[in-house]
């Protein structure tokens, strides 16, 4: 019995920390084998590039923990950038930011209402929203990029503080807040409970519908923040940007130990998942390996992570 106990504990530990450990090992390998990998320029470049995906992955984590999925994130990045840039060009910085965040979050609330109040599966609801958000972005922008002239806005995309990209600092703050929320607040724990066993959670007196509404709304809000950073980096809004980003965020959650069936996943793991892709990407670039290998490697990594997560899923332990 003690043996089985140790195995369980080991599995729990692996589920939680295998992604961070893998990240550290990758980093050490990169430092030893890839020239110029550990340079300020390269590392800040990775952070600049991947903090947008980081925000999306945090949102995706919340949704996946409940057993759902959010496919509308990529289009929402585009919509946020368009609404922000268009409003900003007429009414100034603050109005642009507020409108961009609000518009996208409202679509997230729609996602949440549809998933929690109807029997439509999250996959379909958010697939529909993917089309709606992209279409709205195209309509508002007339399918053309919209330049951003507010110099102050670019800071969140391009600025640094003590040599660290401000976007990465924002992401770090978001990670701390979400981690606190998931581990220390009732609502955070209910997110896990819903994804693990919805029936039992309902019977324990938790309002499951509102938990679901919350995660889709938060996913959209976090995506909108990612969208702001993305447009600040480009200093323009683009109606075609962000496509396929939802796949990257899902991949990061899964590689970070998240379970697509819900109930399992951590902020630390997800953040590691994002950075694992960032580090691999940068190493391949530096080693001048064909970018097509990146897609292939990413795919292999996802399959490995998922097959591994099947081994440690609780609830399927032998009698």
């Amino acid at each position: 019995m003690n043996k089985s106990l140790n195995i369980s504990r080991t599995l729990v530990w692996l589920g939680r920390y295998s992604a961070p450990v893998a990240l550290v090992l990758l980093f050490i390998f990169g430092a030893a084998a890839v020239p110029n990998f550990v340079s300020e320029r390269n590392l800040t470049a990775v952070l600049f590039q991947y903090s947008v995906i980081g925000f999306l992955a945090l949102g995706q984590l919340l949704v996946i923990l409940t057993g759902g999925i959010d496919l509308s994130q990529g289009s929402m990045v585009a919509l946020t950038s368009i609404v922000t840039s268009v409003v900003m060009s007429r009414y100034g910085l603050a109005a642009g930011v507020i409108c961009g965040l609000t518009m996208t979050t409202l679509l997230g609330v729609m996602n949440g209402l549809l998933v929690s109040r109807t029997k439509m599966p999250a996959f379909i609801v958010t697939l529909g929203m993917l089309g709606i958000a992209r279409g709205l972005a195209m309509l508002i922008a007339n399918a053309k990029p919209v330049p951003i002239k507010e110099a102050g806005f670019a800071v969140i995309g391009k600025g640094t503080f003590l040599g660290i990209p401000i976007s990465a600092l924002l992401l770090a703050a978001a990670c701390v807040i979400i981690h606190y929320f998931l581990t220390q607040r009732r609502l955070g724990r209910y997110i896990y409970a819903v994804g693990s066993s919805e029936d039992c959670t309902i019977l324990s007196g938790v309002n499951v519908q509102n938990v679901k509404l919350l995660v889709y709304s938060l996913s959209a809000l976090l995506t909108a923040i990612g969208g702001l950073i993305w447009s600040a980096r480009l200093t323009s809004g683009s109606p075609i940007g962000g496509s396929g980003y939802e796949m990257e965020s899902i991949a990061a959650v899964v590689v970070g130990g998240g379970d697509l069936f819900g109930g399992q996943g951590t902020v630390l793991g997800t953040l590691s998942g994002v950075l694992i892709f960032g580090v691999i990407n940068s190493m391949l670039n530096l080693a001048e390996i064909s970018p097509f290998w990146q897609g292939t490697l990413k795919g292999i990594l996802i399959l490995l992570a998922v097959s591994f997560s099947l081994v440690r899923r609780p609830g399927e332990s032998k009698r």
Binding site: R9, Y180, S197, L203, G315
Partner: protein, 502 residues
Amino acid sequence: MADAKPILKLSNISKSFSGVGVLKGVSLALSPGEVHCLLGENGAGKSTLIKIISGAYRPDSGMILYQDKEVVHMTPRWARENGINTIYQEIDLVPHLNAAENILLGQEPLKKSGSIDWKEAHRLAMKIFDDMGGSVDMGVPVGMLKIAQQQMVAIAKALSMNSKVLILDEPTSVFTSKEVDLLFRIIKDLKAQGMAILYISHHLEEIFQIGDRITVLRDGCLIKTGAIGEFDKVSLVKAMVGREIDFTQRVEPAAKGEVVLSVKNLTRDGVVENVSFELHKGEVLGIGGLVGAGRTEAVRLLIGADPVDSGEILVKGKAVQIKSPLKALKLGIGMVPESRKENGLVGVRSMAENAGYSYVEVTARKGLVNWKSVKEKVYGLIKKLEVRPQNPALKVSNLSGGNQQKIVLGKWLAADCDILILDEPTRGVDVGARTEIYALMQELKDNGKAILMVSSDMTELLTQSDRILVMSKGRLVSEMTGKDATEEKVLSHALQLGGGVQ
């Protein structure tokens, strides 16, 4: 102790499902500080009664009094919030959360800041376990704990909710004897603290060890209720049996043909132990026993649905390794599973397709399906089986239970199996279709097929089998001819009374 005023009183509870009465005017009173045991054969109505008490089903008629107040609209949530907790065999816990979180889910202690006070949460959970005298690992998700430990967590959760009534549905079926001892100590403590406990079990030994009162159900009717002292094992079995059986339907025993299937010491660790038997051509071999005796688990081994740990299977005298249902099919073994919706049919596809699936496997040459041949075969079958309506394109989910079952049977007829395993062939099937299914089984028998039938329906088992095997706790405990079998005989073997009741 049992003289205390009842906390929960059911009077004249009736419930039927699609016209079939499952409970007929059952009354039950539960008092604080007593362990009330509920007994009855498979299908006697125990589960339905529990589900009514826990709010999962609404009774068609009758009254529920809880703490002297009538409860009109009982829901699972209301029951929980008011101190009625049920611990089912399939435990409802949140598998990814740890024991403390499960116990306190929805009532986590908070710090002033509104964060969860984890220290306090662990202290509370530990205290409940200390009071119970058990312990579990709080550091892992409960889904990774053993079933017995999960059950402890479920009980602890019920206690944390200030339960007044605790319903335990076959709690010990997966326990080791040490775990049973611990559970009984917990039950005795709870009893002393004034908890009313409804205890469902097939193990008569346990009932005499722990019970204060006994209520026996049979065919949905209350047969007898009384203090434990009024019963002994013999009188209990007598009260449980006595179902009216129409023996005019009893089949004539077939002449024994050659042995087509021979099983030697078949074992799946912890589930099926050392099962040996022979199945002859042209006979129906029934397997009786209580739910959880390992019957389904045993036949699943024969079609390769679960891995065999040790033992031998011989088909027509040849030792075989059956690693998958497809392999079984190629050896001529087909199975109609217990739950049609889960294992037997693809609901959204048409009748024709479903009936054809197994045949497709057999006829597919070089990976190509001969749809024409499949169609002809299936149309012929649907006609022969008198499936109504006779429209092969109809989705299976739109058919009645009986007709669905005919399609499942048809699926295996199409595949030309010599050995057919039927697990609960008429569960949820109306009387008319039942007769037709029996006729079909008879016809299969006459055509030289061998049928292995698992049945919890005593009438079916006694009337349709040429021979009967009885299983208990994963072992084969008895074999008898269909002619000699009586309900009492089967039941006393199933309850492992050593055949003392005749």
